[in-house]
């Protein structure tokens, strides 16, 4: 009897809960769907792009079937040449030849022109043997390298972009090795990005901590005023702030002119403070500083002044009072601010692109470069995917340390 009532009790309670739950989920669902469709799906596409490239495979299906049966060293027979010639000419008709050539070229450089030039000439060629014709046009067609490159470019699923992005390479025997030191690009850039981000976080903490402290313990009116000095930059357009630093720091800019005017610097010895690492460092610290100050401020404001006074009354020196009583209580703010600045810095693009010159570029700029200039989208996607994994890890860390539901704005 009692058990039955308990069972019914549980049932009714869970029914009511289920109703509540349905309502809550129903409210959140439209946004969840929207975010999944317009944000998560694009990220998914990006991941697919980084490892999936059907272009060559779709354009040269029969050639690739033949090549896959080949041992990779012996001389190829006429049917391969005939099929390849037909499919390449077809690709030229469909205007995908350029893209095919680019992809083959990425496997072994120098092959772009071999492919495009040969196919152009093939158009007018006639003969019994495509093999001889092609080798006649370019000796390279007689070598296995070209065919190996085509076969490799023809893989639909490939880790090639990740191998490139991690400065690795596939050796002829198929094993993976690191690139020689001087040809490593991306890992050093990744380390540089991490180092700069760490440096910027540290700098923001060093600058932000005292001013957050000052604001948090100032009388209300003055605190509000000082807070405005933090919030105005926070709300000002990123591009405006970056422009401001260009205006200040460039060789013909305000600071250099000032230094020349007061004679500290010769007119022909103006200091290069921008379009290099310094530019990135200074401008990004400025941009990210409010993200450090605001969480610090909100934590410090909740620390009653009586704590430090109590420490002093117990005989602590000001330093001891700070270090033993005040600082530990601000650690949540320090964690929240530093992590946030670090996360934002790692993925920063605009500021380094505009004021970083060639030395002050970060990983994001490399992604943009491969998207816009080299048009190696697969590699861009792989780099972005690697960055994304790092950011997700940091995000999880932020959630553990701070809690994403405790995040506040401005």
């Amino acid at each position: 009897m009692v058990d039955q009532v308990i069972a019914e009790t549980g049932l009714e309670a869970s029914k009511q809960q289920a109703r509540q739950r349905r309502r809550a989920v129903g409210l959140a669902l439209p946004l969840i769907a929207f975010v999944l469709a317009s944000f998560v799906a694009p990220l998914g596409t990006l991941l697919v792009r980084s490892a999936y490239d059907p272009l060559v495979a779709d354009a040269l299906p029969e050639t690739l079937t033949l090549l896959r049966a080949w041992d990779g060293t012996s001389a190829l027979e006429e049917p391969v040449y005939a099929t390849a010639a037909r499919e390449l000419l077809q690709a030229r008709e469909e205007r995908t030849l350029g893209q095919i050539a680019t992809r083959v070229n990425r496997i072994k450089s120098g092959l772009r022109s071999v492919v495009t030039r040969s196919v152009r000439k093939l158009r007018n060629a006639s003969g019994d043997s495509w093999r001889e014709t092609m080798i006649g046009i370019d000796d390279a067609w007689g070598e296995p390298e070209v065919w190996l490159a085509i076969r490799s470019a023809g893989e639909r699923f490939t880790l090639r972009h990740y191998i490139n992005a991690l400065d690795l390479m596939r050796q002829p025997d198929g094993s993976i090795a690191r690139q020689p030191e001087e040809r490593r690009i991306y890992l050093p850039l990744l380390w540089r990005t991490l180092a700069i981000s760490l440096g910027i976080s540290a700098l923001c903490l060093v600058i932000g901590y005292p001013i957050a402290h000052l604001i948090a313990h100032a009388p209300p009116r003055r605190a509000n005023l000082l807070l405005l000095l933090v919030l105005v930059p926070f709300w000002t357009s990123l591009l405006v702030r970056t422009t401001a630093w260009i205006v200040l720091l460039q060789t013909q800019g305000v600071i250099n002119s000032l230094l020349v005017a007061i004679g500290l610097v010769a007119d022909d010895g103006r200091i290069a403070m921008i379009y290099n690492m310094t530019g990135t460092f200074v401008a990004m610290t400025h941009v990210l500083l409010p993200f450090m100050v605001l969480p610090l401020y909100s934590v410090m404001r909740s620390i009653p002044p009586s704590h430090v006074r109590a420490a002093a009354s117990l005989g602590a020196t000001p330093f001891q009072a700070f270090w033993r009583v005040y600082w530990p209580q601000t650690l949540p703010g320090v964690g929240a601010g530093s992590l946030m600045v670090f996360i934002l810095a790692i993925g920063y693009y605009i500021t380094p692109a505009l004021v970083g010159g060639s030395k002050g570029q970060l990983i994001s700029n490399m992604i943009a470069y491969h998207m816009q200039t080299s048009l190696n989208w697969g590699l861009a996607a792989a780099l972005a995917a690697i960055l994304l994994v790092g950011i997700i890890a940091l995000y999880v860390l932020y959630d553990r340390v701070v809690g994403i539901d405790r995040m506040r704005l401005g």
Binding site: V5, I6, T9, G10, L11, E12, A13
Partner: protein, 378 residues
Amino acid sequence: MVSTDGTPHVEFTGVSKSYDGRNWVVRDLDLAVQKGEFLTMLGPSGSGKTTCLMMLAGFETPAAGTIHINGVPVGDLPPHKRDIGVVFQNYALFPHMTVGGNLAFPLEVRGMDPSEQQERVARTLRLVRLEGLEDRRPGQLSGGQQQRVAIARALVFDPELVLMDEPLGALDRRLREEMQYEIRRIQRTLGITVVYVTHDQQEAMVMSDRVAVFRGGAIEQVASPEVLYEEPERAFVAHFIGENNRLNGVVRTVGDGVCEVEVGDALIKAVSLGQCPPGAAATVVVRPERVNISLGEGRHSYANEFDADIEDIAFLGDHIRLRLKLCGHSGFIVKIPNVVGHGGVLEGDQIRVGWTALDCRALKPDAADDGEDPSASG
């Protein structure tokens, strides 16, 4: 005012409630409230009072049992269709509406026309003595005024039943006493039924026709304040309402409405409710003000008379409070009315105390405590 015939206004039958499906917050509760009655739910924190009120108002669903209002089960009626006035503990006034707006809200949602709304709002504000404050925002009122607005808002649409959950909890003592009287006056004037929640026993006694004493999700006793005080049926009620001395012992004989309980080496004669057969454990309760003392020479003839040592004396203005050691029990409390001062007793004196058998009751011991702390209260 209280009509005892006909169907009760509110009736809980076998109502149980659990929030998590494991622990019972309310268990198998039966309670009937008559029309026009002022019933107070009194009990310690977490005893399920608010939960009962919220089930009645429709904000929570009972897991088992039914609630009837005017004889009609209300299980499927959503809160906004129940026509029950509710006064919330923190008032829950709408801060973005004026006092007038707050009061007009229930009239407006009932589609009443504006002129009648105004007239009603004014009349209700007069009832709670807040004329002329229509245009203030709740934030611009004192705590007591906000309280009155909350009451007015719960009354303005003429509900027959009004629920109040610790409405005076946030007020200071003086204001609280005044509001207790006000609420009682309004309830009598309008003849409405009020179900009131508090954990302040004095408030419950001042205001209520009947008090339901809650404990752990069940009702221990429902009765008028006087009956609860004079004739508690449970040890818990005996010490929750007012102050009581509790002496634990074993029943020796049971006679006609009277029994003898052996406490230490003494035998105490007490009213028996038939709860404890001979040989069973019993708690004897006796009110501190019903104990008489004499200083040795003049002997009384009480059914219960013992020697006691004075452990402590405290002067409390209207009475003097003695702490005694009696029958091996320490901390037995006696209150002497301050008529002639403390009559020359001193700490360490031995005195003689006595009380009649009718002034003490033998109850079944409270399972949940060992009876050593006689001053437990809500």
